[in-house]
């Protein structure tokens, strides 16, 4: 197992280009089934609005998974992620239309660590909202 990105070829401050991830209602239904989180705020508009939400919202863990995918795709090996943490700072509202919502994830290499590891700071946005904060991954490079 090995990341395709080499430690010696990256620098602190280097940006990882943004990737867009579409979020449709069907993705939330699939995530509910796969994760076992069937909270109706993630699939039932009637329930979501009854508890004061603007509409159905994505699972925070779905958003975290998409930002994780951004890191594993960049690194080239899912097993290269040795530490990954986020704070959920804003909700991702997913309307029941053709477009749903769009997550835009980008990153920057914040620090080069020992043992060929790097600390990657992630930014995840939906519309004007920053939906994750303190999002950081430690990645084992080659």
């Amino acid at each position: 197992m090995a990341a395709t990105i080499k430690y010696d070829e990256v620098e602190a401050g280097q940006e990882i280009p943004a990737v867009e991830y579409p979020v449709r209602r069907v993705n939330l239904v699939m995530y509910a089934g796969a994760s076992g989180d069937f909270n109706p705020i993630h699939w039932n508009e009637r329930f979501a609005t009854s508890v004061g939400l603007p509409d159905v919202i994505a699972h925070g863990m779905f958003t975290m998974a998409e930002a994780g995918r951004f890191v594993t795709d960049w690194a080239g090996d899912p097993a290269a992620v040795v530490d990954y943490g986020v704070r959920f700072s804003s909700m991702v509202v997913v309307p029941d239309d053709e477009n749903g919502a769009t997550l835009v994830v980008s990153g920057v290499i914040e620090e080069k660590l020992e043992d060929k590891r790097v600390l990657v700071a992630l930014t995840a946005r939906s519309g004007d909202s920053r939906v994750l904060s303190k999002a950081r991954a430690v990645v084992q490079l080659s």
Binding site: G60, G68, T72, P78, Y84, F88
Partner: protein, 149 residues
Amino acid sequence: MALNRDFLGRAYASSVPYEVSRVKIKEFAAAIGDTNPIYRDREAAVAAGHPDVVAPPTFPIIFSLSGAGEALSDPEFGLNFAMVVHGEQRFSYQRPIYAGDQLICTSTISEIRSVGRNEFLTVKSDITTVGGEQVCTTYNVIVERGGAA
């Protein structure tokens, strides 16, 4: 209602091991829209140097609160689920999770603090194999809105 601080430090182990299957990893990867063959195809995973298909980094969310579920729903604890939101989440790996792993999850109520009107609860979960090998530590911060009011 404030959370019952008597629960601080209490640990709960899952009663049966969680058996990581290729099918579940594939289902989870499909749900997050990730087409990486290392999640789906054993041969591709082996060719990349892994013993079997690898679980995505956030996969342990499926079972990492299973042990603590009993405590969190205990009326004595005082957690109102209707007011709960997920505040923070972290996974710290000692090694990757692979299909075929049999995992035991021991969850500890490691911190309870009031911030303004809200209660912040941290559940730390140590995930090991049935043989005792350390695999992953997860930290789940749950926010009970209005709980400290």
